[in-house]
């Protein structure tokens, strides 16, 4: 037995000695979702990383990254670093969270940014590593690093508002009044790309009706939370908004046709849509009404003078627990917060890293978008808490997907709330 232990120890030591050397040689496998910011940014950042460390980077970028890496991962071939956010249809990141297959990145926060003397946690802007988006198990440990943030809110045609002389609604009551005015001119108040876009919208609304504490409870499925007046108010607003929504929206609210819904704003057929700043790039080729100009605002307040929130959406960067090259992976994670990487991300693609002070340097449309938090809106961050997998329950479908039925009138507001309560109860029991 003792002999065995000695051998094991010797073996472990030898491996320990050789591991760093080996890590230097093995290429770092990086997989990143290709979004409106393009794939070029990743090639350059990868090259920058190689120049600094000598570690070769094997890069995979794809618009449907899940399709490319899922089978690979099941075959035991894990990327070392992955940028893929939660809230996507294929829900790969959620699956790994539920299955406890992410590497703890908390120690990266107290590492130095690669090539700089600053700690990662001092580089990342305030609040970004404090929500369930980065700390999914609510235990103070960070498993996902924030990337490419974008304020979400309501997008509109500023040109149309100027032309009609309409005021931007500051409260939901103003909103309804505007909706009636617009309806008289044949313009719908509201449209949405797909029901999935209600996530950012609904999270911000939960903050507005009840503040951070309420949000925390709601997203952790607290008992009776959906019967509170705050929750009911949020449901009322969404329910009412459904009646102000352009009628053709549910028809196109799928992955193939959602651009038609976004086009409604450009064609002055609807006033507002919930979206993120990437929409500008996404619709760059689309034809638009004369005098069209992008406008962007936070959600209207629930009461006169109440808080207005804009959801902060960001991509998530993570390291699979099964990754072979974790040391290099963590170095890479620290590198994406360097000034060098951030400027590549921004200059080549327009992606904004959540780095202290970066938002102040922006110009043009971006300045308007990112200054939303300076002009009174509060930032909403977070999402529904991770649970053990529950058979047949997809909470995003229950909460957001049903909006399609509210608009088409196939379900009532009360049926919707009832379903949310049922699923919420199931999820609470499965909470991590």
């Amino acid at each position: 037995m003792k002999k065995l232990m000695t051998i094991a120890l010797a073996l472990a030591l030898t491996i320990g000695l050789f591991l760093p050397a080996m890590a230097q040689e093995a290429p770092l496998k990086v997989a990143a979702i290709e979004t409106a910011y393009g794939a070029e940014i990743w090639q350059e950042v990868a090259a920058g990383f190689t120049a600094k460390t000598g570690i070769k980077v094997e890069l995979v970028t794809d618009k449907n990254l899940e399709d490319v890496i899922t089978s690979q991962m099941k075959a035991g071939d894990y990327p070392d670093v992955v940028m893929l956010a939660t809230g996507r249809k294929a829900a790969l990141t959620e699956t790994l969270i539920k299955e406890n297959l992410l590497e703890d990145l908390t120690d990266v926060l107290s590492m130095k940014v690669l090539g700089e003397e600053v700690l990662v946690k001092d580089k990342i802007a305030g609040g970004f590593t404090e929500s369930s988006l980065t700390n999914p198990y609510g235990d103070g440990k960070t498993y996902l690093a924030p990337m490419f943030y974008s304020p979400c809110g309501l997008f509109y045609n500023a040109g149309l508002f100027a032309e009609k002389g309409w005021e931007l609604p500051a409260t939901w009551d103003d909103m309804w009044a505007l909706g009636d005015k617009a309806k008289a001119e044949g313009i719908a108040l509201f449209a949405y790309p797909t029901a999935g876009y209600f996530d950012a919208f609904f999270y911000a609304l939960l903050f507005e009706v009840g503040g951070p504490e309420f949000f925390e409870k709601a997203t952790r499925y607290a008992e009776g939370i959906w019967d509170t007046p705050e929750a009911q108010q949020a449901f009322d607003i969404v329910g009412k908004l459904a009646t102000y929504t352009e009628a053709s929206v549910p028809s196109n609210a799928n992955n193939d046709n959602y651009l038609k819904n976004q086009q409604l704003i450009l064609d002055n057929k609807a006033l507002f849509m919930p979206n993120g700043t990437w929409v500008v790039g996404e619709m760059a080729d689309a034809p638009r009404a004369d005098g069209f100009q992008w406008g962007f605002m936070a959600l209207p307040a629930v009461t006169e003078g109440g808080d207005r929130y804009s959801y902060t959406w960001f991509e998530q960067l993570w390291v699979p627990a099964e990754a072979q090259n974790k040391e290099a992976a963590k170095q890479f994670v620290s590198y994406v917060y360097s000034d060098e990487a951030a400027s590549i991300f921004f200059e080549k693609g327009g992606a904004v890293q959540p780095i202290v002070g970066l938002a102040e340097t922006l110009e043009g449309d971006n300045k308007m978008f990112f200054s939303i938090y300076d002009t009174g809106a509060k930032a909403a961050l977070g999402n529904f808490a991770a649970t053990e997998p529950v058979e047949g329950v997809n909470f995003a479908d229950t909460v957001f997907g049903t909006v399609n039925s509210l608009v088409s009138g196939d379900k009532t507001r009360d049926q919707w709330v009832e379903a949310i309560k049922v699923d919420s109860d199931k999820l609470r029991e499965a909470l991590k």
């Binding site: 899922t70 991962m73 099941k74 249809k89 294929a90 829900a91 959620e94 699956t95 790994l96 539920k98 299955e99 406890n100 297959l101 029901a195 009628a247 053709s248 929206v249 549910p250 028809s251 196109n252 609210a253 799928n254 992955n255 193939d256 046709n257 038609k260 997998p389 529950v390 058979e391 047949g392 329950v393 997809n394 479908d397 997907g401 049903t402 909006v403 399609n404 039925s405 088409s408 196939d410 379900k411």
Partner: protein, 297 residues
């Protein structure tokens, strides 16, 4: 003499390789589906828990599964009844009546069957579009401009039939060719004598054609059940992704969502088992119900 001595080996070498391949790549995986349906497993990690029939118990209380079940059955019934009727009609016209351009029509009708599903979905999203779609454009001719458009892919009472329309469009040619093949085997003399007795084309169809291809028709019904389950998934996947709000979810699309995006792989496999048993049973029932005294020529 030689022939009989080697008979056993001949049969073995002819049938065994195919059967072996079939066992490895179809029977064993199917067995695995049945096995995994008894587990709670997310699909990635090593954490697997045996839960017996737990997944099946959850399944029959899952309203979304029942909706998928209902949609699948509806699609099977609607698509097969309409497709078979139309395919039979077109097959009868093309094989019983002589006229110019016959060949052209036969060729064209089969084309939808060779198209990839992505093309079909693109075509139908342009046909069903609520503002610029072909269908609403034609309707507007009758209802006048400015009439409320029909939301083919938005109205939850209509959308399942919109899907059925696309599926029928795709399937008619295939079944038409099948029926034409068996109609071609009917001897001309039968029609001639019927014609002499004064039977019209329609009577001939019901008295001669239909009874004589009845067996073939029954076979295609089984194919319909199998292929509708499969095709409905393909169509749903590219056209609606089960939406809006789960109103077009079908068996396989729901299975996929549960197995892959909801991290409940075992549950998804339980759905797979139900699909297998359901299609098997339904085919058996249909086979029994349609059994007739067959007419052999």
């Amino acid at each position: 003499m030689d022939r009989h001595k080697g008979r056993g080996w001949f049969i073995f070498w002819c049938s065994a390789p195919a059967f072996l391949l079939f066992i490895i790549f179809m029977v064993i995986p199917t067995f695995n589906i049945f096995r995994m349906s008894l587990y709670k497993w997310g699909g990635f990690s090593a954490r697997r828990t045996f839960i017996g029939l737990g997944n099946f118990r959850t399944l029959f209380e899952d309203m979304k599964f029942l909706q998928a079940f209902q949609n699948t059955v509806l699609l099977i019934v609607v698509v097969s009844v309409i497709t078979i009727t139309l395919a039979l009609g077109y097959a009868a016209i093309l094989s019983r009546i002589k006229f110019k351009g016959q060949n052209f029509f036969r060729i064209v009708f089969y084309i939808p069957n060779i198209l990839s599903i992505v093309i079909i979905s693109a075509v139908f999203s342009a046909v069903y579009d609520s503002h610029n779609g072909l269908l609403n454009g034609i309707l507007a001719l009758f209802k006048g401009e400015g009439a409320q458009p029909v939301y083919w892919l938005g109205n939850q009472n209509i959308i399942i039939y919109s899907l059925a329309g696309a599926m029928i469009w795709q399937a008619i040619g295939y079944y038409m060719v099948m029926y034409m093949a068996s109609m071609a085997a009917i001897p001309e003399s039968l029609y001639e004598s019927a014609g002499l007795e004064g039977a019209g084309k329609l009577t001939q169809f019901f008295q001669i054609t239909l009874p004589l291809i009845w067996n073939n028709l029954r076979t295609t019904l089984t194919f319909f059940i199998i292929s509708s389950i499969n095709m409905s998934f393909m169509f749903v996947k590219v056209m609606t992704d089960g939406g809006p709000d789960g109103s077009t979810e079908v068996f396989l699309s729901y299975m996929y969502k549960q197995a892959y995006t909801n991290s409940t792989y075992g549950y998804g496999m339980a759905i797979g088992v139900v699909i297998f048993i359901f299609s098997f049973a339904l085919s058996g029932i249909v086979n029994l119900v349609t059994r007739r005294e067959t007419l052999e020529v």
